[in-house]
Structures are given as C-alpha cells and as structure tokens.
Symmetry: C2
C-alpha cells in the first residue's frame, strides 16, 4: 500500500508543512519507502518531482522541503510497492494531458484482476506496470471518449463517480486526481481531509515535533483543503471519508460529495473495452 | 531564441559536466534566462525538472548539478522567450505519452504564422502558448494518427523527416526529440554534435574553466553523443549540422542522416488539418 497527500486551495499555498510530516512516513514513522512523487500545478503548468528513493532520504524531497512552491493544487504520494517493480515509471503521481490541461493522479490501494487491456486505450496507454496507472488511463480514456472538450464540473463529477465505482469493484481504490482546478478524492478504506480557514490556528505534526501557526501566513479569505491517507496533525479535527465516497474539492471546499455504489461496474468496463481497439 | 542540449548513449551516463557549462548560458555567459528544463529517461520512466527561473540560479538546476542521474537519453533547454509568456507551462522540454512511451521535445527557433489549430489535434493538445508545443503536438498527432503501435525506426525516421520539413517551412526549427530509445535532432540554423568514444580524452568547458577526464569514468565500449546549439567544449572537434538536416541517434551513434527538403509542406499540413476535428 501507499499513502496519499493532496492540497486544494483558493490561494496559492506552500505545502511544505504538510509534506514535512508526510515524508517521514517513507521510512521513519512508517515504511512507504519504494519511491515518492509530488506534483505542483502552477497556472496551466505542472511540475512533477519523482524519485525511486524514499521521500525521507531523497535529495529531491529535500529540495521540495526547502524550495517553497506555492500552488493551488498539489498531489503527493509515497509508495510501498504492491504491483509493479520499484522504478521511476511506477512512481506516482502519473501525468497526462487531457483537453489541453495536465492531469495528475495518485493511488493508494490494490486493484486485483483488472480485465486485460484495461487502461490500454485509443488515447492513453500506461508506460509502467502498475494497476494504478492502468486505472488512471482508464479514467482519462473514458472521459476523452465521451467529450471532445471539458464538460461542466457536475457532468465531470457524475462521470467520474460511475467510472470510479466500476474500478472500485476490483479492490482498494483510494485516489486523488486533479487538473489543476478541481481535485477529486475517492476513498475505499482510508482517507481524511481538513479544511483550514479563518480563524487560522496552530497545527502540530503527528510524525515530527513541529508546530506551525497558520495565522501568520494567511488572510481571512484563504481556504485550504488538505487530504491525506492518515491525518497529518494531532491537534486538529480531520474528517474521515466514508467508504466508497468521492468528493470534488474546488477552491479549498468540498463541493460535491457522493457515495459510489458498485452498481455500474459491468456497464462502464464494457463500454471502455469496446473503445479499445488495441487492447 | 533558446539553446538546446541533448545526450544519447549506449550506457547510462551522467550529463553533469555538459549541463554545468550549458547552464552558464542562462544569464552568465549568455542571456537565455526565461526558464529552463531538463528531462532524463530512466528505463521506461522519465524525470522532468522545470523551472521558470534561470538555470544559472535555479535551486532545481543546482540539484541537478549535484545529484548525478545516469541516463541513456537526456534533453535540456534554456529559454529566451520569443512566443509565449515566461511561465512553467511554456518551459521545455514538453512531455507526452505515445504508444505507451514517454516522449520529450525541446525547440530552439521561431515558427511564425503556423496555421490556426496546428497542434490542437484529436490525440494531443498544447497546454501552454508556445509555437514549440504546437509543433510537438503536431508531430505526435501525425505519428499517432498513422500508427496504432510504434513503427520500425526507419519508418519513424522517414515520417519525422516529412513532418519536420513541413514545419520547418514556417521558420527556424532546431529541435531535439526522444522516446528514451532514439534521439532525433533537427537543425535549421545552429546545432552541433560530438560522439565521445574510446580512446576517451580530457575535455575543457567553453563557458567555465572546468576540465574533465572522461577516461577515468568510462569503459572502452562506451559511446556518448552530445548535441548542443553551440559546442560546449573548446578542445574537441564538434560536427556542425547542415541546414535542414535531421539526424537519428541510436546508442550514441548518428544512424540516419537526411536533409529535409521543404517539398512536402502542403501535403503534410493538410493531412494533419483534416485529422483535427476540434481545430
């Protein structure tokens, strides 16, 4: 298994405090040492740092610690390999372009016995060997097949709900997905979030004895949602996702929430398979 | 204009020496200070470092200097903006997936008056606002449209020659393109290369007083091609590309060379335009 970290805000925010605690779980406070990745959206651009070294030791993770990058949307991942060897091609987040936007995706879980060819589509194909990248390609393939241009957020959410539900039938499917504007987070087993807004207070990390006073760096209108496999602080109230819950965050707020019931699995997977001439 | 650096080898090689000289041109020995990027292929994976800061100052460029990453194929770029604002989305190299492989592309030049919609295709769309990313998407779109799977290298070279020739009719089109296995380099105006192989000697940088003895880190069978807008060393013989020359490097060797005559421009661009329902 792996651990996920996401941030979605209404003002460009530095994720250094959260990432500092998170990366301790890659070998110090936990064993997610088979590579890491962190991707920052900056306007239309996207900056992705990957390493197959543990985030607790990687010089690239140290750079991220000390080079504050402000972003509206960030996705990070520390890996404990279940499927796929330890290699750069299997490090999350994965990145693709859809509708002229970059999309990032990171997964915690294990999708077993995915039908052969899932994810190997007309528009997208996996490069590495993980079930996670297959799932990401499956999501994008279906969205792209149904829409030549970006649909409205409610349609996007509804379609992702159906596609997510289909994949979640194959195993544990906690994920975070973003196009730099919206952030989608789905929970099968473990995912929590917190929305920090005024009045801002002081937070204390769970994984390292570090305290930070958010009131010193924020304005009253700032809103920052942080999503993580396990809460990152021990003095704040985190909300645990329900099983099979998909939430769409916009500007630091959980806007759409829905339980994904596994009723559309067959339909969605069949639909995808027929659109995969090269499977 | 910008400057390009590429490396294609038969054994994973550290590009630190070349990059050290190259990044001085981003503000110290030359004025290419509007962002930089360097992408390393590592087996199927690809690691891309981008910054809109000058490579001579960027902490990310310093990391690359001190964190030796061995790779068979590397593409780097320092930008002096001609089209498109200074932003992360406009930093080269650009990355996309094609046939289940990552592809990187960097451009030095200026393509003027590209037909509207070029690069905005069925499979690929630009995210930023540069002519360069449009050209990259145009190349991949046409390759993908003609082949569901990767063709043989001779067919790939022949098709890239036609597509390159079509785009080169619109202006200066020096570029380096790679899928992690092959490296294609095209010259309109300025591009040179050197193949280092046994007996390895000592090289001295042009942009900084640094000398390196390659014989201390190589074996007799190693072969490393380095491609750059301007030679990086002052005591070695670099080969200047001819105008309109496309070379395909495999395992450190220039394998196919061809002059691109601008005869197929109309045909190729028309072909692309008809395959762009969303243009």
């Amino acid at each position: 298994m792996c651990q996920l970290l996401g941030m979605n805000c209404n003002v460009p925010t530095d994720i250094a405090f959260s990432f500092r605690g998170f990366r301790q779980r890659a070998g110090v406070t936990d064993q997610h040492s088979d590579g890491f990745g962190i991707g920052f959206f900056e306007e239309a651009g996207c900056r992705l740092f990957l390493d197959y070294k543990a985030a607790s030791e990687s010089p690239i993770a140290k750079l991220v610690d000390h080079y504050p990058i402000k972003s509206l949307n960030v996705i990070a991942h520390i890996r404990k390999a279940t499927q796929g060897v330890v290699s750069l091609a299997n490090c999350h987040p994965f990145q693709r372009e859809l509708w002229g936007q970059y999309w990032l995706f990171a997964h915690n879980g294990d999708l077993k016995r995915l039908p052969r060819g899932i994810g190997k589509g007309h528009y997208y194909q996996p490069v590495g060997t993980t079930d996670s990248e297959q799932a990401f390609c499956f999501l994008l393939e279906n969205l792209r097949s149904h829409h030549d241009t970006m649909p409205s957020p409610d349609i996007l959410f509804a379609e992702l709900k159906v596609l997510t539900s289909a994949l979640a039938g194959y195993g544990v499917f906690n994920f975070i997905l973003s196009n730099g504007q919206y952030m989608f987070a789905h929970c099968s087993t473990n995912l929590s979030y917190i929305v920090r807004k005024a009045p801002f207070t002081t937070a204390h990390l769970l994984d390292e004895d570090v305290t930070f006073d958010f009131s010193t760096v924020t304005t009253p209108t700032d809103r920052v949602a942080v999503i993580a496999t396990q809460p990152l602080t021990d003095n704040e109230v985190w909300t645990k996702f329900e099983p099979d819950q998909l939430i769409m965050f916009i500007e630091g707020e959980p806007v759409w929430e829905q339980r994904c019931l596994h009723t559309r699995k067959t339909a969605a997977i069949t639909e995808s398979t027929t659109s995969e001439p090269h499977a």
